[in-house]
Symmetry: C2
């Protein structure tokens, strides 16, 4: 039914790589936006290539908005949204989508929770009706909550606790983030999931599930006028919820030490490592810093033309996989990641030193104008793929608007990327990718010597 929270790191990454890709304004992909009387924001992206429409309701509430000790409640609540409402029994919404040949899903991340359907345009009003209904009319019983809690605990067991890589990811996150709530896994920690109850769910629902805390994104074969009329008829009927305070969360203290996390497990067959740094996000960065980090990730490790790929896989043959990622669309400071898996008999320390050497080289000598230009062009190419898919286009708007960004940020983003200089890329590498503020996770095949 729902994208499990623990897979969201993966799916989030791909979303964000996609979000390194807009530029709709120039050629007719211009979005319209307006607000309903109850404060609900609406974005419409007309796309008349095919008779389908993607309907997404985004809530500005994710795992980083959870109260202390209640980890997992955002994702838990996403599951509960598929239960009965005062007007519809559980399963009726899903059945209706299936009956018209549509698809639906939901996902939870650190800063947002999203519910979405892809259907023919004539079913849009029905989808809005269902979503508007469950925004406020969910029937939360102790029994429903207890049953779903068991489901989620089993989900956690299967996808995290039985997976050394997922376990290590969790511990690395909690070691990278020492104050920001991103240190807490989206799916939640087992002992806290186990204690979640109806009161926690009700409190989360009452606080965050309201039209003035939601963004409706509709992409597809519709006009803004139609969407507006339908939205007023459905979502527009819901009373405005309480005014929430600004989303100001604890932020990181300065990091002065290198940190490592090592997981040795007999289930691991090939060793690997990844190194992360705290860096600004699009929302927290100074102008063009986040864009420069996007280009740095692309040049350093964004695919087969990147430095790490060319040097470590093609030239030296010491890595079987390598890459760099920047998760830019986050409300608070985010992470920059490099990772590598050795090839053949190469030992992890040798591979790690080779990766460090590439990072040191880019921090010291910068990037060439040619590779910067090529990286910008690769972004533009990937944009073509992204906007070809209605759902990813809508997702770019949703993630941006729920992480402190604006429509203008989406639309001006390609221009801002084009303006980044080679000097700016070098500057963010030198400033942020320093060993004495890094966190490295090692995944090793077997128990090391020692007690």
């Amino acid at each position: 039914m729902n994208l499990p929270a623990d897979r969201l790191r993966g799916s989030l990454l791909s979303l964000l790589l996609v979000s390194a890709t807009p530029a709709f304004a120039q050629d007719g992909w211009k979005a319209a936006d307006f607000k309903l009387g109850n404060g609900m924001e609406v974005v419409v992206i007309p796309d008349h290539r095919a008779p389908i429409v993607t309907h997404m309701v985004w809530y500005k509430a994710g795992s980083a908005d959870e109260p202390p000790g209640k980890s997992g409640i955002a994702h838990f609540f996403e599951h509960l949204m598929f239960k009965a409402t005062a007007n519809h029994p559980a399963g009726e919404f899903d059945s209706a989508v299936a009956a018209i040949g549509g698809s639906d899903n939901a996902f939870t991340s650190y800063d947002y929770t999203c519910f979405h359907e892809t259907v023919p345009p004539q079913a849009l009003e029905q989808m809005m009706g269902f979503e508007a209904d469950r925004m406020r009319n969910l029937v939360l019983t102790d029994e429903t909550v207890a049953t779903e809690r068991d489901v989620i605990m089993e989900e956690r067991r299967a996808r995290v606790d039985n997976d050394p890589e997922a376990l290590l990811d969790e511990e690395v996150d909690a070691t990278l983030w020492q104050n920001q709530p991103y240190r807490i896994p989206v799916i939640g920690w087992m002992q806290e999931i186990a204690a979640l109850n109806r009161n926690d769910a009700k409190a989360f629902y009452d606080r965050y599930y309201a039209p003035n805390n939601a963004v409706l994104v509709v992409a597809g074969d519709v006009t803004p006028e139609t969407v507006k009329a339908l939205a007023e008829k459905t979502f527009g009927k819901i009373p405005r919820g309480q005014d929430l305070p600004p989303r100001i969360r604890p932020v990181e203290p300065e990091q002065n030490a290198r940190r490592t996390v090592t997981l040795s497990d007999p289930r691991v067959s090939v060793p690997s490592f990844s190194t992360q740094w705290v860096v600004p996000s699009y929302h927290t960065a100074k102008p063009r810093e986040a864009e420069a980090l996007n280009l740095l990730a692309e040049i350093l490790g964004g695919g087969t033309r990147s430095r790490l790929y060319q040097e470590l896989i093609v030239n030296k043959g010491i890595a079987s996989s390598v890459g760099a990622q920047f998760q830019g669309r986050m409300l608070d400071d985010t992470n920059f990641l490099v990772y590598a898996t050795p090839n053949g008999d190469t030992k992890l320390p040798e591979l790690e030193a080779a990766v460090a050497a590439e990072i040191a080289r880019i921090s010291r000598d910068g990037v060439t104008d040619e590779e910067l230009e090529a990286a910008k062009n690769r972004f533009v190419r990937s944009m073509i793929f992204a906007r070809d898919k209605q759902e990813s286009m809508a997702t770019i708007y949703g993630t941006t608007l729920t992480t402190g960004g604006t429509l203008q940020d989406v639309e001006e983003w390609p221009d801002r990327i084009r303006k980044v200089s080679a000097e700016e890329v070098k500057a963010v590498a030198a400033r942020y990718l320093r060993q004495n503020r890094s966190v490295t996770g090692y995944l090793l095949p077997e128990q090391q010597a020692g007690n």
Copy 2:
């Protein structure tokens, strides 16, 4: 004036080592306890050896009770308690103590904040009057708060940010604790201290500074009857505050990976390391587990007779300092720590391996009955020193009662220690001191190679 929060790790350690030492019941040190009508708990420990009395007011509020993003407010508030009240200008309380030749101080830790005076018995009522006054009548102005905030920021700069060892301690704590609030430094993180304001102070005061959230401990040349009469006249007049919910805080998830934190700094002259593990405290442990951890710390690294000292300093000559510590009196799970500094040309990895070998040996082969008996006897001897000092005796009661313990826990503690078996000491070593759940901090003299 106040014990700075960042020194509390040190002072707390010594307090807790002292708390490995009671047994008053057998020989006339029996404490009396009762409650005032407003819910304030009172403990009296008569000690008629000299005409002095130690008066301590303990609040069940420490840094681990702070709201998210408000780190440092507990310690900040401790400072503010020395400012003007509605009835006394700032400094009057201190001057009164000084005028009668007494001493006063205060300290903040994770689970409690304590204000105390040592004075002649005839000044006890006056002390109670002052403490009762500032429990509720503090005058908090924007100006007072702003001035004291500057003082605390300077304190943090001087004692933490300019001290590599203190910086490393902070990052290790935040790496050891990934969910419990003990990960947050008592003094607070700079960016959060800088944002604390009068509203934060007022909210903390109104919530926690009330008779029903305080424990009065009086040790010295007084009778329980006198203390009761005086307490009723002073503290007894304060209305009961709001009922606080149980102090249930987020707890740690299971740890599956070894973590390290490395700080390299030119100001460091000699390298050192320490390794920590999350272990149960007296409040969270199963019966006799915490006592066994106390004895394990004593046998492994509690002074010159310990295994680490004998093996690494005396026999091998590879360490210049070495030790083990268990901070048992905490409300939530706590830490067990070993540390070592190399001697001469010994390299850190060699020393670390030698320490690990001693831990592995005790986990595998256990301890002998002889060394267990000797460790228990050393505890009894150190008790004699502890109870000889009125303030440390009172402190044992205060820390116990503000970390979920009872008077009975204090009084039965020596018997419980005596009942620990060698098998139980081995069991806690084997269960908790495992490398794959350890966190090691390295303090290195200079920048390592690398970017």
